[in-house]
């Protein structure tokens, strides 16, 4: 099967003349309905950047409210209209902002944006394929994603406001428009958007898995795959196994909302009248949601770790330490991610024994995570580190992975979670370990592979400035936030004026908001650099980072089919950096052992 598809791609390319109608390049099939994985990857990236800016602006608006709750901001009225009347953010709209900020960041930026961009770009180029197994499904995957983003954005303009029950949309709050205005049309649009998103994620995921398994070039054994590809493979499998469960959960919620079923609803008295729903359980939804929701954390994180592994090895000019242990720990993390979902539900009244099981499985995740961190540190030890912006972002990712992972040990313990659950301690934890580290992985990927995507370099000075401002802003924002949580402040509070004990926390909140705004401004540098370099950056050379992986053997100019001639054959693993006996400090995967007699280890060549 694999060879057949490969050959077909070669043939059809070589036989351009015979199939001119298929290859007639127009604006529409080149930039819009493209089936070329490189173009689709750019489409994902640009869409994700636009969505990320939107979600970031939302967070800045609610940070203004949290940092300076007594202050009026007249400009809010000009941009938000009735939601910012008199310069004060509306409390309902505050909840809508935190909901949509979370939804966009988790799903559209860190899932669609991260996997969509880099799985699409790197899978065919790094395994040595002409394109994805199905270019058409790949195109559909992007357009479902685009539709999903469009519906979610449209929901912002609904009169009663967008969904506002939190990004976890727990019913009954999300099921009853009587309970919160956002649970009207806004919530319906949220669910429709999510259904489209899941379709996109599945189409993409199946394509990634098939491509990695079937379309590897000659010599590309599974044990010669770069860690990026391993990460994308595991991520795609996680998505295929868990997203359908979210689909089911969303569908049942849609039924409860629209057709009067009672999957999640029972014994409800609201707005002066009892509802007819009987026999459902709101907790069922949480089980279904977190069955996706926890693997989702790794769907977000693993590709980032994969990108970072690749960047760290390349820029350290040294093999990644413990290649097989890295794969093994990713597999263990992926397996465990399916049996830890209950740690989001310790205080739902879950049977304490079941809670203990989830404590056990949850804390086990720390072991493979620790192995990964130690392996990164061992890779940096005695390396020859090129501190490119991408490398700095990869180091930043490891830093966040440590900081956020460590507080996870606390939250994973049910006895401690009783007090910290749903406080700002949790918000700080997951923004560091999942949000910031995944977005740093994405930045590392963009800076590193930008020349591969656009044939130009990004400006390094702006990259450095972006990195230092961002890492300072992230720690400045989220480190103090742990203390707000330890002070007992619940999340999703419009203001902390209701309880005098929180007065002191206001000072911290202002500090947090200050750093959040700094972080937001720093992203302008990135956006400017990105779009500027796209058109006017310095022209890139073919292999700007002296990298071993085969995506750098393809010409700078993009062409459909990736390589003008035959697909290169692979002879070795991707991490022969700094091998003793060799003059160069890297040996591309395409170099046979017969050409490196001086550096071959016993058993090689």
């Amino acid at each position: 099967m694999s060879t057949h598809t490969n050959d077909h791609a070669v043939d059809s390319h070589a036989g351009d003349d015979h199939h001119e109608h298929e290859h007639h390049v127009t604006f529409w099939n080149k930039y819009v309905f493209s089936q070329d994985h490189k173009m689709i990857s750019k489409q994902f990236l640009v869409t994700a950047i636009v969505m990320a800016i939107l979600a970031m602006l939302m967070s800045l608006v609610f940070r203004l409210q949290l940092g300076w709750p007594d202050q009026k901001f007249p400009f809010l009225e000009s941009i938000l209209g009735k939601w910012g009347a008199d310069g004060k953010l509306d409390p309902n709209f505050y909840l809508a902002l935190v909901t949509i900020h979370g939804t966009i960041m988790v799903f559209f930026v860190l899932t669609g944006g991260l996997s969509g961009t880099f799985s699409n770009l790197l899978i065919p180029l790094q395994v040595g394929a002409r394109d994805m197994a199905s270019g058409f499904l790949n195109m559909l995957s992007y357009w479902f994603f685009f539709g999903s983003c469009a519906v979610m954005t449209a929901s912002l303009f609904v009169e009663a406001g967008p969904a506002s029950a939190g990004w976890t949309i727990y019913p009954p709050l999300s099921a009853l428009p009587q309970a919160i205005p956002g649970s009207g049309l806004g919530m319906t649009l949220w669910l429709i958007s999510m259904v489209l998103f899941i379709a996109s994620a599945l189409l993409g995921g199946i394509n990634y898995v098939v491509t990695i398994i079937n379309l590897r070039t000659k010599g590309m054994k599974m044990t010669r795959l770069p860690l990026t590809i391993w990460a994308f493979l595991i991520t795609a499998i996680l998505g295929i196994l868990s997203f359908p469960v979210l689909f089911a959960a969303a569908l049942l919620l849609l039924f409860d909302r629209s057709f009067g079923t009672s999957f999640y609803l029972s014994d409800i008295f609201i707005n002066g009248a009892p509802l007819a729903h009987a026999g459902g359980s709101p907790i069922l939804f949480q089980h279904l949601f977190w069955f996706l929701g926890h693997p989702e954390v790794y769907i977000v994180l693993l590709p980032a770790l994969g990108l970072a592994s690749e960047v760290i090895a390349t820029q350290s000019r040294k093999p990644i330490f413990g290649y097989k242990a890295m794969i093994g720990s990713m597999l263990v993390i992926a397996f465990l991610s399916f049996i830890v979902w209950g740690h989001h539900m310790f205080v739902t009244g879950m049977n304490p024994f079941l809670g203990s099981v989830f404590v056990f499985t949850t804390l086990l995740v720390a072991i493979p995570s620790a192995v990964k961190v130690f392996n990164y540190l061992a890779t940096l030890w005695k390396a020859n580190i090129v501190l490119s912006p991408a490398m700095l972002f990869a180091i930043g990712l490891v830093s966040f992975f440590i900081s956020g992972g460590l507080t996870g040990i606390i939250l994973g313990d049910s006895a401690l979670d009783i007090n910290l659950h749903d406080t700002y301690f949790v918000v700080a934890h997951f923004h560091i370990v999942m949000g910031s580290s995944a977005i740093f992985g994405m930045f590392a990927g963009v800076y590193h592979w930008f020349p591969r995507m656009y044939g130009r370099m990004m400006n390094k000075r702006m990259g450095y400035l972006h990195f230092w401002l961002t890492i300072v802003a992230v720690y400045g924002t989220f480190f103090p936030m742990h203390f707000v949580g330890l002070a007992g402040a619940p999340r999703r509070y419009y203001a902390y004026t209701a309880y005098e004990g929180f007065d002191a926390a206001i000072n911290i909140n202002a500090l947090i908001s200050f750093f959040a705004i700094l972080g937001g401004l720093a992203q302008l540098i990135f956006v400017a650099n990105f779009f500027y370099s796209m058109y006017r950056g310095k022209k890139a050379v073919q292999n700007p980072w002296n990298s071993n992986t085969i995506e750098w053997t393809a010409p700078v100019e993009h062409l459909h089919g990736n390589w003008p001639g035959a697909i290169p054959e692979v002879h070795r693993w991707p991490y022969d950096y700094g091998k003793p006996g060799e003059e160069q400090d890297f040996i591309p995967q395409t170099t046979p052992f017969s050409q490196t007699k001086n550096s071959n280890l016993p058993g090689e060549g």
Binding site: I268, F269, G280, I283, R317, F374, N384, L416
Partner: protein, 352 residues
């Protein structure tokens, strides 16, 4: 006019930025700047890594010492004292790991920065090392798991029979409480029985509801075991007692519970916190709608005597025809309300 001016400012800004970019480009071309990373960059950013490391550590330590004043005061519940010390144990551990690993990370970035002509040490694996750093975290985590689970099992153990049963009932956007009275049993309730006069939907025909009392505030006697039963009538709420280190969701359609023993009275805590205004509070900690942030209830922990006095003044869920003045209530050490009028003395008026 203002709009026109704003537009003008925006246009000017765009033009300025464009010109600035052109200048930067020219400078770049003049200097022959490359976007490849030079050893000068490595040296600069290696140094910045060290600065970031040490200033970051200093900032964190300074902030942590300063932020102590924001943290919750000492736990006012028995189990909370245990979880607090376990939390501190966890913190001690993770702070050590944090400082070591972050130090190595940023120190290596500086120490092993690229030098031309230099080569990295080819070191792809070492099984012994990997084994060691798999086993050590595994052993440490096993310790944490065992310790944590022991604690969890003791906290979630079934409530002793003598524990005082109190219902905490959440609805958008306030809390109600119901005491179970002399029989220590809450009368049945049903959401279909909810009326303006019976906001908790208590079943008047259930004998155990006869001595149930409701109150505007939540008072509990110090030193006695309290078994909270949680209910909600509309959406999920979460009853969160930050000072008691306790939290449990209130879910429509089911009863959840949490058992705890308060150890410090409000008065004592006022002395401890040096704040005469201090009050315990019950907060809602699950997003429940527009006034989520305002959904709270005052919690008072007081001596058994004060509690008895206060409890007497509270009204029954259903008004009674007459209440015999009971003999001085003999509050047991377990603080079960045994001293109320017995059920036979009571006539329920509101029969509906």
């Amino acid at each position: 006019m203002i709009k026109l001016l704003t537009l003008l400012v925006i246009v000017m800004a765009v033009v300025t930025i464009w010109r600035l970019i052109r200048v930067l480009e020219l400078v770049r071309d003049l200097r022959g700047d490359e976007d490849a990373v030079t050893d000068k960059d490595n040296s600069t950013h290696g140094k910045l890594s060290l600065w970031f490391l040490f200033l970051g550590f200093a900032g964190m330590i300074y902030f942590t010492l300063d932020a102590k004043k924001y943290l919750l005061p000492v736990s006012a519940s028995k189990h909370g004292a245990l979880t607090d010390s376990f939390l501190n144990m966890n913190f001690a551990l993770i702070i050590v790991v944090f400082f070591i690993t972050q130090f190595l990370l940023f120190y290596f970035a500086w120490k092993y920065k690229h030098k031309k002509g230099h080569k990295a040490y080819f070191y792809p694996e070492n099984h012994k090392l990997e084994f060691i750093w798999t086993i050590i975290p595994a052993v440490v985590l096993m310790g944490l798991i065992v310790y944590g689970l022991k604690l969890w099992i003791s906290i979630t153990a079934p409530a002793p029979a003598e524990a005082m049963v109190i219902e905490v009932y959440g609805k958008q956007f306030d809390w109600s409480v119901r005491y179970s009275g002399a029989d220590n049993k809450l009368g049945h309730s049903n959401f279909k029985l909810i009326t303006d006069n019976n906001p908790l939907g208590v079943d008047v025909n259930d004998a155990s509801s006869e001595d149930d009392k409701t109150a505007r505030e939540l008072h509990i006697p110090v030193g006695s075991v309290i078994n909270f039963k949680f209910h909600s009538r509309d959406v999920i709420h979460s009853a969160y007692f930050p000072h008691l280190r306790a939290q449990m969701n209130c879910v429509p359609g089911m009863t959840t519970e949490f058992t705890l023993e308060p150890t410090i009275t409000t008065d004592s805590m006022r002395l401890i916190t040096n704040n005469p205004e201090f009050d315990y509070v019950l907060l809602c900690n699950k997003i429940c709608g527009v006034a989520h942030y305002n959904m709270k209830l005052k919690l008072v922990i007081e001596s058994p005597e004060e509690f008895k006095k206060w409890y007497k003044e509270q009204s029954y869920v259903f008004e009674r025809a007459e209440v015999k003045p009971a003999a001085e209530p003999a509050l047991t050490t377990d603080s079960v309300i045994t001293a109320e009028a017995t059920a036979s003395d009571i006539k329920v008026i509101a029969t509906k």
